[in-house]
Amino acid sequence: MSLSNDQLRTVAHLARLELDEADVELYSGNLNDILAMVDQLNQADTADVTPMAHPLDMVQRLRRDQVTETDQRELFQSNAPDTERGLYRVPRVIE
């Protein structure tokens, strides 16, 4: 399977990555090399194999529905690039 430059631009859009147009060729070459290596997987016969969900056959643990975290909004927002009155500021979304 080979990936075109246009497909690469679509993948970058899905991943919300802005690429320099000059890098598109490089990245699609890289991805094609990686996918060609990955194509070795087709050598394996996996007809009756259940896909692995967890290496140790574990089940999801449950916990009581109790509040265990304290409110640390100010501490957490101290890492935010732009906040106002406890809210995160972003560019206008609704016209």
Partner: protein, 487 residues
């Protein structure tokens, strides 16, 4: 006194007998960092004030009679672990200004054991790399070849360079596909990746959550046992932490090896393994035979598919995990954008380096509609086949032995233009991550003056067994004692 040539066990003894204080030790290592780290670039952040305060507290704890084996021992954390109030970058511009608001569980547990953190070590960006060249904070030099420009391996490159360079007695690392074992092999150290779920992942910045595991980077297996003792344990805050008792790792180190069966997968000796590394492995096998262990050839027919399996599973999980970096809540934010979508795209385009972007795109592609079955599902099936190979082998043998890498450290820049060639660095280490098994690399000698390692892979939760094997090897050999010249 040359504190940096002592092991963790040796430092613990000296502290316990009052030969020196934690403050003296801590100041000594801070001075060594000041003196030598400009050549290695092994630290991203050094925390001298905090370290000296922790050292004084440790000395008081000891005076009060409450000291444990790690009380007052200096160390360094890989910069992937959140450390409250301290810059935590994960080697990325994206987190270049991120001050963690809480401690990772592993950090908290080691602090409770009394260690003194000297600082945070350099690493490949988001732990994606095998040479430490993808770090936003510049490459790390291998103490075994500073002038030759040798890479220290990766992604825990700063941690191994700090320990091998005598800038920390031990360090933490993380291993998703070999990121503890491969760099440990290239710098003559002992590196242990525990069983998946043995150490908490809480507060450890996520790369590929079904593979990531924290572990110790030390000079000796005995030191690894001491440090793992403090790192391991059940943590309700990590949904994949496993609730099984933590044994006394040090107590198992001296068990005799007579009758032990070690499996040597013939696939590990196929093309690609360099002659010197093969010879080092064979010498190690001979030591084990002399101790009464039996070396049995085993076959792991799907082993050769571990690299392609990994390069579907790991990027898929990474693309999902790294979706959280949006330029809104924390991390890098692009300036002067007009729309929310442009804010996301430009923040991520500017904040992530090339290798991270590559893997996010591979992951996005293999998870996208129409490709999911062909790639992701297929890889999870092959992953099961690889795990089955181990289960079959472990019906016959107690542990698996093989090389850690194909050869010794390579030069900076040698593989940066060819991602696939770089990925093959982890050809022997990835399978243990895919199967969730504990695995260790230990020093096995020098090839042209450069260290190589031998790898031991154990049954799930049998860290004791592989630490015992490594410790016995180290009590009969002196490879692990060799130090890089000038350090």
């Amino acid at each position: 006194m040359s504190f940096h040539t002592l092991t963790v066990a040796g430092l613990a003894d000296g502290l316990a007998s009052g030969q020196f204080s934690s403050r003296e030790l801590t100041q000594y290592f801070l001075d060594r960092i000041e003196q030598h780290d400009s050549a290695l670039n092994s630290y991203i952040t050094v925390t001298p004030e905090q370290a000296l305060a922790a050292a004084d507290a440790a000395d008081q704890t000891r005076a009060a009679g409450d000291a444990g084996p790690l009380t007052g021992v200096p160390m360094a954390h890989k910069d992937i672990f959140c450390t409250k109030g301290v810059l935590t970058t994960c080697g990325s511009k994206m987190l270049g200004n991120f001050v963690a608001p809480y401690d990772a569980t592993v950090v908290r547990q080691l602090a409770a054991a009394g260690v003194v953190m000297l600082g945070k070590t350099n690493m490949d960006e988001f732990a994606m790399g095998s040479s430490n060249e993808t770090s936003y904070f510049g490459p790390v030099k291998n103490p075994w070849g500073v002038d030759a420009g040798l890479v220290p391996g990766g992604s825990s490159g700063g941690s191994v360079a700090a320990v091998a360079g005598g800038l920390a007695p031990f360090a933490t690392g993380t291993d998703t596909g070999g990121s503890i074992r491969q760099p440990a092999a290239l710098t003559n150290l002992t590196g242990l990746k525990p069983t998946y779920g043995r150490c908490s992942r809480y507060g450890m910045i996520a790369f590929a959550s079904s593979l990531d595991q924290a572990g110790p980077i030390t000079r000796t297996a005995e030191d690894a046992a001491i440090v793992l003792q403090a790192m391991a344990g059940f943590d309700p805050a990590d949904s994949t932490s496993v609730d099984v008792p933590v044994p006394d790792y040090r107590a198992g180190l001296d068990a005799p090896l007579a009758g032990r069966k070690l499996g040597l997968p013939k696939e590990f000796l196929a093309e690609g393994l360099d002659d010197g590394t093969r010879a080092a492995l064979e010498a190690a096998l001979e030591i084990y035979r002399q101790q009464g262990a039996e070396i049995v050839e085993v076959s792991m027919p799907n082993m050769h598919l571990s690299v392609p399996t990994y390069y579907v599973v790991a990027p898929a999980e990474a693309s999902s995990n790294l979706a959280r970096y949006d330029g809104v809540r924390y991390g890098h934010r692009a300036e002067g954008v007009e729309s929310l979508e442009a804010l996301y795209k430009r923040s991520r385009g500017e904040g992530f380096g090339r290798e991270v972007q590559r893997r996010i795109m591979v992951g996005t592609y293999v998870l996208s509609a129409g490709y999911y079955d062909a790639y992701y599902l297929k890889a999870q099936q092959v992953r099961q086949l690889i795990a089955d190979d181990f289960s079959r082998a472990f019906e016959e043998v107690d542990a698996i032995i093989g090389p850690t890498t194909q050869g010794p450290a390579f030069a900076l820049g040698e593989k940066t233009d060819d991602p696939v060639a770089m990925y093959l660095n982890d050809i022997y280490t990835i399978a243990a991550n895919l199967a969730g098994l504990p695995a260790l690399s230990m020093p096995a000698g020098l090839v042209d003056g450069k260290p190589v390692g031998v790898q031991l892979i154990g049954k799930a939760f049998d860290e004791t067994g592989i630490l015992n094997l490594a410790h016995q090897f180290q009590s009969l050999t002196d490879h692990h004692v060799a130090r890089a010249e000038g350090f």
